[in-house]
Symmetry: C2
Subunit: 554 residues, 2 copies
């Protein structure tokens, strides 16, 4: 493959699971990056704040880097920026709202060099390096999203961003499918297409439908109404305000991220807040409960969110009252199903009537379902089809949609994070993988943690730990400070005292053996006795806690 | 309420969440128990094997107890029996298969008194204590399920068991709705009704439809087929055998519970295995791959299940090959969604084509959807409607169905575990709650663990732990064995060494303060220094690990 006439893609995230979207595109030694997101943790990564892409490939090729382009302002597309910008500077391109959200993240960076922000004009072509980039607006669950038509000397590359096709958009801005159609007529080398909802048949319903469902619930509610939604879902929030205004209600905003998001969106005119509708939470008792709407975070059952604190009756100012109507205007992010159910069940127990997606029509997705994906493929008519933004199961479904429309299976690629994809007009293939590391962020720490840390966390959480300290004198060959036991996360068992007594005897006997057999090196003693205790505890109680024995030596 | 003419229900499980179903019914000082199940753990109970009902109410009223009656053989209905039978003996009633499954659990009880097993005859009335019990067969995701019509001197109580109404049952056994109709004509005081699928509109599809979907996938598969399903889903297993026989394939059985379940069901004639169809796993290579069907456990992404070990390439004998067809013939139990997705994604990565519920029609539920529940209510025509088997959100939906059919809201009860429900022909109300404890089982341990244990497990898993041992001499007022640090589950942070060095200095300085201020009591020293270290670590690293400081004193 002649190097000059080929184009290179390196996805640093977003194609081996949902989250931390980041795509590197290279041509003629010039590189652009599309998005730089974070990924939320799951059961396999307990206690981690989030994951970010491994930036080493970018840092190694920093001289090629021209710009980073943001498709929209969701965390999984912009949340990695502060970590990337710890290491480098490059101009950022995005629409007004997207840049507004990115700035709130980057402004907090202490002592930083200034960052160059460039507002995208979707009516113009942007020339960066070897790329002429045209943007097309897309509908999504946040305003001001775009996809990219990247014109290169070997053909057009379309990056769909996160999109749906909504014929009744709240802000009147439609997905600009005519631009995709035009690119398709010119000829499209590759379509990189959002796979998130590729398993869903039919069309994703328009956002407007949610407004109607909300109105229906609002009309039936005789007391207080609490609506939870994603803080970045400005169109949803707009509809909640509009319905509240129509019903002559007041809106209390609860939750820090909700306040922040509403502030930014209204300052940038993406949200039109009806006059005098917002009241502060401490004025809530000045109005009849039938006039109150509480707009809240907490759609995912997050322990510290406003809604969950209300459900647990731990919210400082708002207690659930019998007859409250609670509307959860969102769908579960995979992995959160149980947490959300718990929140719903607690709200019901406190006397609220709860409406949520599976029974109420109070949410629609922001991602394209199968028929919209087909429309995208049909208009773009690409030579190569590359599913992005999804787990393997989503990407495979997406590829099958393309194949059902006549794209040859060899021309649909299932790519993974770190793959090096090379394409020209003859061929598109995965030529290697840069083997990106898992980069975790926890507290102020950021690094690729040893897998042992996560494994330890799993074991700690499942089995608990027994910590034993003992002080010995090697010169006297005797125990001079007797063993002390600390247990954390160990399940109560009936005869635990007896087991510990026997275990302690085993420890003392084993220590004697060490002394007698001249095994006086601390590590050896610890390993020898730990092994004995582990076996003993498992035999007696069928549990496998971590046993951490510390022998202090004088 | 005259005691003699009232009836008492005490649900010990199954109505404050799905699982550990157990219902006590009392009349005239006679008590029967319906079911005794276990509940599987979730994120809130990490590392627990399972939960069982709190039996203390039963033990306190043991003299009233007449019998335990089992509706069917699922773990959430019989899994608690071994723990109950550690404490007491009472005759067990169940259908043949249900007793067969119960016996495998109870036979292992070492040195036990004999247990009285009684096979239910669904054609006859069973008289126990104050109750004349008629059984009606029900369709469910395990054969031989029943519901109960309990005739008392104040009226009939119907307990639906777990049911659906399948007009095309695999074994030809229909839900005996005519018996419910007859009871309804006699008059029904209360209907206790399965709520599991009360959120689902319409009808649950017949089991037969899965056979057709399986046949379709089998016909299209050119290589090996792996089908995973619940080991107790005998009708599903029957269909897998039948489709395999039709397609002239051989079946390999993988997974211990699958082997055990197939053995019991075929011995008791609930499963008809086509001749010569089963081959042992070590003969797998004697047949062309196009003739192989592997029947496996692992529908819930369980780490140790056969399917997950294949997906991880850790199965001793079976590796996934490119072109394998994997069918997951089950739906996710809430909370398992992410684990299942992970299994599916790994299978796809290894080259398998994977079919699962959301894209393939390879599973139908065993529980009644809204239209079947309406049919049950219509036939029974009860005075009181009591949703059972569900979380609050399911029970509330179920109650709303009943209300939509004209049952007065005051006559539908949302009951919780431990509630004491009293009813007569005038009134049905919750008169108190026995406050059952959470009983956890882990290893051989069983007890109501302190909530602190679960809280510790959460913190351990999210934040990790730092153990510190130090030896001091109080007489000499000095450290004689210097501090030793063990970290488990602590995320790597860039400057951890420096933080620990500073922390160690803080520890030594604080110890000096203790010596100087005559603070020589061990607990006080530990609390004083731990507090200082916690604040220091949080300030420096924004993490909140458990800090366990042990001061050994000479």
């Amino acid at each position: 493959m002649a190097k000059k006439n080929s184009l290179k893609l390196v996805p640093l995230g977003g194609v081996s699971g949902i989250g931390k979207n980041m795509m590197v595109i290279e041509k003629n030694n010039k590189m652009i990056i599309i998005d730089c997101g974070l990924e939320f943790p799951d059961d396999e990564t307990p206690g981690i704040d989030f994951l970010i892409p491994d930036f080493s490939y970018v840092l190694k090729n920093i001289n090629k880097l021209q710009a980073i382009i943001l498709t929209h302002g969701h965390e999984d597309h912009i949340g990695g920026l502060p970590f990337l910008f710890k290491r480098l500077r490059t101009p950022i391109y995005g629409t007004k709202l997207t840049l507004g959200l990115a700035k709130t993240k980057l402004n907090n960076m202490a002592g930083s060099d200034p960052i160059e922000y460039n507002v995208i004009d979707t009516g113009k072509i942007l020339s960066i390096g070897s790329f002429d980039i045209e943007f097309f607006r897309v509908n999504h669950s946040i305003p001001d999203g775009v996809g990219l038509i990247i014109r290169t000397d070997i053909g057009n590359i379309i990056h769909s961003g996160d999109f749906k096709i909504d014929h009744y958009p709240i802000d009147g801005v439609h997905t600009e499918i005519h631009k995709i159609a035009r690119a398709g007529e010119e000829g499209v080398l590759a379509l990189l297409c959002d796979s998130t909802n590729a398993e869903e048949e039919g069309y994703t319903l328009p956002e407007r439908d949610v407004g109607r469902a909300l109105m229906d619930k609002f009309e039936k509610a005789s007391k207080r109404i609490i609506v939870a939604t994603f803080s970045s879902h400005i169109h949803r929030i707009q509809q909640i305000f509009d319905v509240s205004a129509k019903m002559k209600k007041k809106v209390v905003i609860s939750g820090r991220s909700m306040l922040k998001s509403i502030k930014i969106a209204s300052e940038l005119s993406y949200l039109k807040i009806p006059e005098n509708i917002i009241i502060p939470v401490n004025k809530i008792d000045d109005f009849p409960i039938s006039e109150i709407v509480i707009l809240s975070t907490g759609t995912q059952g997050e322990p510290l969110s406003a809604l969950n604190r209300m459900a647990m009756d731990e919210h400082r100012r708002i207690s659930i009252m019998k007859g409250d109507t609670v509307i959860i205007s969102a769908s579960p992010i995979p992995g959160n199903e149980k947490a959300i159910s718990n929140t719903i069940n607690m709200l019901i127990k406190r006397g609220a009537e709860v409406f949520y997606e599976s029974i109420a029509g109070v949410h629609v997705s922001g991602h394209a379902a199968q028929e919209e994906i087909k429309m995208m493929i049909s208009l773009a008519d690409p030579l190569y089809f590359i599913p992005i933004h999804g787990e393997n199961k989503h990407k495979i479904q997406n590829a099958q949609i393309a194949q059902s429309m006549g794209i040859h299976p060899d021309n649909t690629l299932n790519i993974q994070n770190g793959d090096i994809i090379k394409m020209n007009t003859n061929v598109c293939r995965i030529s290697g993988n840069i083997k990106p590391k898992n980069v975790y962020v926890d507290g102020i720490g950021m690094g690729n943690i040893e897998d042992t840390v996560l494994r330890d966390r799993k074991v700690l959480s499942n089995n608990g730990i027994i910590f034993i300290s003992v002080g010995i004198s090697t010169s006297e060959r005797k125990i001079i400070m007797r063993p002390d036991y600390t247990m954390k996360g160990i399940i109560f068992i009936d005869n635990i005292d007896e087991i510990l007594r026997e275990g302690n005897k085993l420890l003392i006997d084993s220590m004697d053996t060490c002394f007698k057999e001249n095994m006086l090196e601390r590590n050896r003693i610890e390993n020898y006795i730990t092994d004995k205790l582990e076996k003993f505890i498992f035999k007696k109680a069928r549990i496998k806690p971590i046993i951490a024995l510390k022998v202090l030596v004088k």
